[in-house]
């Protein structure tokens, strides 16, 4: 065996040039320095995290209290933390791209074409798979079991495995910064460009396996949530009594179950093309790349609704709570949600109107696409009517909801324009499209996620977020969005192609400069969001809401302490109508001790989730670099762990009834000592989470 063979069998295609630092040394250009800087940030950041954890002696709590936990609440929080980390990276990449385009008009700019292509590929991949999806999965994880009166999700261990698979995929994308390079094929990874003939390197492989891990995790999450919502509701919680967020979570779960398999299959078949010389999507020998495009968008379009529906659920909760009104048109909102879910599978072809179908086929899909505007319009009116004559309070989550209502409609209108095939022919592949989907995703999804984060934060951590910083952040998010993306509509109509590393039209310059300012403002918005968190943690003693109902809200999650105990409900609630907590408050039937308390079984922590996630990432890394022993090892380790777990019988821990009762009585004592606050004082430090009954009871 020669030295090369030995190297290959041990390290596959790894070589010194895979490191961006070596590349920067050999070709000292600005673009390479930026790449090496990003790689260095990953390495230094990793070392810093390890050092910090060691210094604070947080390794044990990190693993024993968090990473191995099967508590849906902790898993939810970890999902959101993962999303926050990935969000930061992808937003910096966005700023870099906007900077490049604003500088590169008849000039080279700061990043090379290859590097620019990696930036838009990772930006899209991360924002969809490792920012939006974990964020909404985290919210669903935390909130849905509380809203339906359950003690956990249906499959707590599976939940942990889903999280860790997603985290493994995210880790792989981060590793690609420091070792090798990422795909240049965009977030949708169209072959044949991402096939072996055009990109023999590791880039598309990183993309394939990162997305595959995330896709598997998401399928399992969908399965878990759907079973939870169908089977774990508390007595009396009929489907039509569920809070609307549960409905949207259910619809999203169903979409995950049916829409993720096409993606898994698309990436798997692309991998077969690249690794085993199959001919699914190649140009020659009977391959057909249209199959990939169909598979990808069979996933991709429902994915849009996987993302947006939970945000719609958040708006429904937030608007109803901060208007102090029952959700207007509950049944129509449920029907609209389900209609969107069904229609989302009938429109995928509008992502490729220009790729050779007949005009009739395009017309059918164009009309189907416009049809989705109908249920969405129903929802918009329902939210407006919910506010009508309500006692509206303009707290930060409410401000985000209002900004959503206006801005999302604009995005929807440009969507209807794009749904007309002749218009699509004119503007496809321009930044008009980029403007459109950012216009629906940022005000639609992102504002919703932020609103949800701020709305439920007091429930999750037991103290309110700083309202002033919240407003500053809100202004940055809204102004930043309009500045960054409205110019792109103009530029798109002016013919500027998307994903352009260099431009040659000086007339674009003013619009691009406005857009880059907007991008920096959005970065500032994220920074203020973190700033708000830091300030709020420092002020936490002033803003505690231990009683648990700071917003005079309506659903079951507000009827328990903040933060909730591990078992959620000391006694399982019984529900006899919609908005049950609100009406019980009005009847003064809340905050009472139960007649008796029982032992509660909660799932014990398990290492299986972290092991499977890590093994998955190791397997994927081995596959990317053709380190076959590593790939096989990771694959076997993951499955061995799962099989070994099936032999474990001692999976639950009992919380004794006495302990439950003591905790409940301590909380009830806090409730008794608390002074109720009226709604107009809810952002005041007097608010300890006990709402003044409304209307105030008339003294007899």
């Amino acid at each position: 065996m020669s030295g090369d063979d030995l190297w290959y069998s041990l390290f596959g295609r790894l070589e010194a040039k895979a490191l961006p630092f070596v590349r920067a040394w050999e070709h000292p250009t600005l673009s390479e320095f930026i790449g090496a800087g990003a790689g260095a940030m990953v390495v230094v950041g990793g070392i810093a995290v390890v050092a910090l954890l060691s210094w604070l002696r947080w390794w044990r709590p990190l693993f024993l209290d968090w990473l191995t936990s099967l508590d849906h609440k902790k898993i939810g929080i970890m999902y959101v933390v993962l999303a926050a980390v990935m969000f930061t990276r992808a937003l910096i990449e966005a700023v870099l791209m906007r900077t490049q385009q604003s500088l590169a008009i008849n000039a080279p700019g700061i990043v090379a074409p290859e590097h620019f292509a990696q930036l838009f590929s990772t930006h899209g991949t991360i924002m969809i798979f490792f920012m939006a999806m974990p964020f909404l999965t985290g919210l669903i994880n935390y909130v849905v079991p509380l809203q339906i009166g359950a003690r956990d999700v249906a499959f707590p261990l599976l939940n942990s495995i889903s999280l860790m698979l997603t985290a493994g995929g995210a880790g792989l994308v981060m590793v690609s910064l420091a070792v090798g390079d990422f795909s240049t094929g965009g977030w949708s990874g169209y072959p044949p460009y991402t096939g072996k003939a055009f990109q023999p390197g590791v880039g598309p492989d990183y993309w394939i396996w990162a997305v595959t891990l995330s896709s598997l995790g998401t399928t399992l999450s969908g399965l878990n949530f759907a079973t939870t919502i169908y089977k774990k509701r508390c007595p009396g919680m009929h489907l039509m009594r569920m809070p609307l967020f549960c409905w949207t979570a259910l619809c999203t779960s169903v979409l995950m179950i049916f829409a993720m398999p096409p993606l898994t299959l698309a990436t798997a078949l692309l991998a077969l093309d690249r690794y085993a010389d199959f001919h699914f999507f190649t140009n020659d020998l009977g391959g057909n790349m249209m199959n990939y495009v169909n598979l990808f968008w069979l996933f991709g379009h429902p994915e849009v609704y996987i993302l947006i529906l939970p945000a719609f659920g958040v708006y429904s909760e937030v608007i109803s709570a901060f208007s102090s009104k029952e959700l207007y048109g509950y049944i129509s909102l449920v029907l609209a949600t389900m209609a969107i879910g069904v229609l989302s599978f009938t429109v995928w072809l509008h992502h490729f109107f220009t790729m050779g179908q007949s005009a009739d086929v395009n017309a059918v899909f164009g009309i189907a696409t416009m049809t989705i505007a109908v249920p969405t319009g129903v929802k918009i009116y329902d939210w407006i009517w919910t506010m009508f004559r309500g006692e509206v309070r303009f707290t930060t989550p409410m401000l985000f909801s209002l900004a959503f209502l206006v801005t999302f409609v604009l995005g929807g209108l440009s969507g209807i324009m794009l749904a007309v095939p002749p218009i699509d022919y004119v503007v496809h592949n321009t930044v008009f499209l980029v403007a459109h989907f950012h216009n629906v995703i940022i005000p639609g999804l992102l504002y919703g996620l932020i609103a949800g984060y701020m709305y439920w934060f007091p429930k999750i951590f037991g103290f309110r977020l700083n309202e002033r910083w919240g407003r500053i952040s809100f202004v940055c998010w809204v102004a930043g969005f309009y500045l960054a993306f409205m110019p792109l509509y103009v530029l798109g109509l002016g013919g500027m192609a998307r994903r352009s590393q260099a431009l040659f039209e000086p007339d674009y310059r003013p619009w691009l400069i406005v857009a880059v300012l907007g991008a920096f403002l959005l970065l500032a918005a994220l920074a203020t969001l973190f700033g708000q968190l830091v300030v709020s943690i420092r002020q936490r003693e002033h803003n505690r809401v231990p009683v648990g109902d700071p917003w005079d809200a309506r659903s079951l999650e507000w009827s328990i302490p903040a933060p909730p105990p591990e078992y959620n409900f000391a006694t399982i609630p019984h529900v006899d109508r919609r908005d049950v907590f609100y009406w019980r408050k009005a009847e003064e039937k809340t905050y009472r001790a139960a007649e008796r308390y029982d032992d509660i079984a909660v799932p014990k922590n398990s290492w299986i989730g972290p092991i499977v996630g890590f093994a998955g990432a190791v397997c994927a890394f081995g596959l990317v670099w053709h380190i076959w022993w590593m790939a096989i090892l990771g694959f076997l380790a993951g499955w061995t762990a799962v099989i070994a777990r099936s032999f474990v019988r001692d999976t639950h821990r009992i919380v004794p009834a006495a302990e439950v009762e003591a905790a409940e009585r301590r909380w009830l004592a806090q409730v008794a000592a608390a002074r109720p606050v009226p709604r107009r004082l809810e952002v005041n430090s007097d608010n300890v989470g006990l709402a003044e009954p409304f209307p105030a009871p008339v003294p007899a």
Partner: protein, 208 residues
């Protein structure tokens, strides 16, 4: 409530209630959902097979490659294994000992392995005729669809082995029973997929 109560779709067991209330119900329900998701994968693989059928690119096509004889034997083996799994489930529900269950499971395993043996022999014969997936889009689609089913059967066989070990370790506790119910659903599902493969791939390929 008196008498047996139906809690989920499929074979309901009596007297397996060391599980938490509702655990069998949601456990089985979740597995049905998993199978639906898996069914989407197979549906798409069938669709791709359909679109790639003509893409033979000069390599051997269906008529030259497929032989109905071995495919028919495979069909018989797999369908019989579904029957024997059904008998295993009935033995689990009604027998006091687990002898019947273990015997039927072993027979099912043997039939599954025999199926895999025949299938691998088919693939080897095809490869010997020069029909490998790198030759054409048609062969790629074939070697994605049929071996994916084969991999599922392999996983099913491994699962049977694991369950046999669990029966030896724990006897028939509630969890073992629950897992056997899931395994049963999985095994019958693979049977249904195979009927699709036999009709769409082999019958259409040789007679159509």
């Amino acid at each position: 409530m008196s008498g047996p109560q139906l809690r989920h779709v499929g074979l309901n067991l009596t007297g397996a209630d060391t599980l938490e209330p509702g655990e069998a119900e949601s456990g089985l329900y979740g597995f049905w959902i998993f199978l639906m998701s898996d069914a989407v994968v197979f549906a798409l693989l069938f669709a791709i097979y359909g679109t790639q059928l003509a893409g033979t690119a000069g390599a051997p096509g269906p008529a030259a490659l497929f032989k109905l004889g071995p495919a028919f034997v495979e069909t018989l083996l797999l369908l019989t294994s579904s029957l024997t799994f059904g008998l295993a489930s009935i033995a689990m529900k009604y027998d006091r000992t687990c002898t019947g269950l273990v015997v039927w499971l072993c027979i099912t395993l043997a039939l599954g392995l025999a199926f895999l043996g025949f299938e691998l022999n088919d693939f080897a014969t095809m490869a010997a005729q020069g029909a490998t997936p790198d030759r054409s889009g048609f062969l790629s689609a074939f070697f994605a669809l049929v071996p994916t089913h084969g991999l599922h059967v392999t996983a099913g066989c491994l699962w049977i082995v694991v369950m046999l070990v669990q029966i030896a370790t724990f006897g028939l506790d509630a969890r073992v029973k629950l897992n056997l119910l899931r395994l049963g659903l999985f095994w019958h599902f693979l049977d249904i997929v195979w009927i699709g493969i036999f009709s769409v791939v082999y019958l259409q390929g040789t007679l159509g």
